[in-house]
Subunit: 192 residues, 4 copies
């Protein structure tokens, strides 16, 4: 009994998410309207708010899922041994963050949360990124004079700086990859 009921609930939830994903695929995250989502999912508007506190929670879910997918691919291969390999490994995530202004904004908004309770997929993905990079830095050809955790935090800082600069019209001569490379080379390698 209970199982069946819960199953139905999960189905509705996933229909909402699928509908949203379809819309995002077609038109991007920016013009995602709750009304459109429920319309496409074939459920009532009220149902949306049974499953999600607000639109941000859904966006958190969608973007967080993409981030986790990227992370999955990131960790599926051997740890990057050099900065250049690391940059290549990280660049998909940076590209996601820099793909749409509103994605960047949601990630910033959701990256940390006031309460521990509302840690969503985005925050958890960022945490996972952090610890993944941290592990990598311990084994590859990187500077060892600084704790890997601190270095990983720095990597994140640069991964956010790069798309941020990309949204600006000033200094846009470089590609995001080139920029990240410059930063990480200076950050992760000690000149000999």
């Amino acid at each position: 009994m209970r199982k069946a009921v819960q199953k139905r609930s999960l189905e509705t939830r996933s229909r909402l998410i699928c509908a949203a994903e379809e819309i995002v695929l077609q038109h991007g995250h920016e013009p995602l309207r709750v009304e459109e989502v429920v319309l496409r999912a074939g459920v009532a508007k009220g149902t949306f708010f049974v499953h999600f506190k607000d639109k941000d929670e859904l966006l958190d879910l969608l973007i967080g899922a993409q981030m986790h997918l990227i992370l999955d691919r990131m960790v599926s291969r051997v740890p990057p041994q050099t900065v250049d390999e690391l940059v290549t490994r990280l660049i998909p995530m940076v590209q996601l963050l820099g793909s749409e202004r509103c994605v960047f904004d949601v990630v910033l908004r959701r990256s940390g949360s006031a309460a521990l309770s509302d840690i969503g997929p985005i925050a958890s993905a960022l945490g996972r990124l952090q610890s993944t990079v941290s592990e990598w830095l311990k084994v590859g050809q990187y500077r060892q004079d600084t704790p890997a955790e601190l270095l990983a935090e720095g990597v994140e800082a640069f991964m956010l700086q790069v798309p941020a600069l990309n949204f600006c019209a000033l200094s846009p001569r470089k590609s995001m990859k080139a920029r990240l490379q410059a930063y990480l080379r200076a950050w992760l390698v000690v000149p000999t």
Copy 2:
């Protein structure tokens, strides 16, 4: 005639700015409403948009002014020779950025601009910060293996990372100063 008119216009503009400053002093930047500003300034709502393109332009003005004030104090003394001195010199700016979530957001939004025409006080302050730090890095006890400009960009990245982390409920053990110190020590000094 022309002069008188301009004078009146300037007065209106400054009344709007003063009104906004008063509100910010009392309630912070967050709940700044155009309605309140014009009410306090004693002008009509439309008048606001005669003087400012949008609300962000006013916020840019207000926050940019604070940033320039901080910069003035920053440059009024001899260049910081060590990372610790640098951190001490930079921390007021970091504290401003970390004071309110919405201040941080406006700075991010305004840090770069789509068009070169709308470079506001915030963008110019960040540029000034950049070049100031850049100059400092050339003369003090900092690593010289990397172009000062790139290092300065990194400093900016960390100056944004620190308040960003501060807004999170995760890992808030450290003070902003301690965090900045850790980053910059690793970023600006080559271990011997």
Copy 3:
């Protein structure tokens, strides 16, 4: 300048009211939807809430206007000299109150107000009714042993009791007029 602007505002307001009146004429008060009103008035939804605090305020206006119209007709002739004349004079108002359940409800809700500030047309109409009846009672063939003001309050009580009973399925044998007549005969005349 100011005049022109105010005139436009008044026009918009009256267009909203007219639109609402048309809808009410066609479909009654119950299914009055804000959305429909603004659609018919050709204004934006936000405009509605510039002019009215909420839908109740508009209903207050509409029903209050009808009540005042009825009152106008009530007072346009010589004071009713007998209870039967009085009943005939009052019955249009009672019929309005008993015409739709939701009209009755709005009148009850708006009859008195928590704050003096939000005395709307309905409350003022009831006040006017009260004093009108009060004056009548002083000059006609009514009992003089009780203050006219108290008697008028009682008349109002009966005027509300009658439609209230009318909405009930119990004891609906009598017409509203007959019922009011029975009450007022006993209330306003001293048997000799």
Copy 4:
């Protein structure tokens, strides 16, 4: 078997009622939410509607029970001989009606019912009140020129008018008791 099932059903029903009573005791009738009731009773939302047709039915039950309690005390003594005694006897009921706006509203809504089938505790209490008062009026020192039934209806009208006026901010100078007294003196006694 049948018995056991019925017993369980009755238990659920009484748990719902108890839960509702507790909430009303703590927070009054106004904010009574079905959600809260079922939560406190530890049953599912749907179960509520197995036992009650709608929320009003529960409120009817709760308020009707209070009214019957008051009636029990009312009739437990000798009939009031004078208007003043009558007022004293009636005032607890008036106070209940005037205690909360929403109680007043529910009583009005339930005082009569569309169908004879759904005569609830409130309607029956009002009926009982009516016939009780009616009997009293036949034996005490009241006017005899008008049928006791009609007089009793008037008494009820005044018993509703008094709390109604009490909810208004206009003319709240008098206490409910004083007001009722004034009405009933004029209504039930013929000046000599």
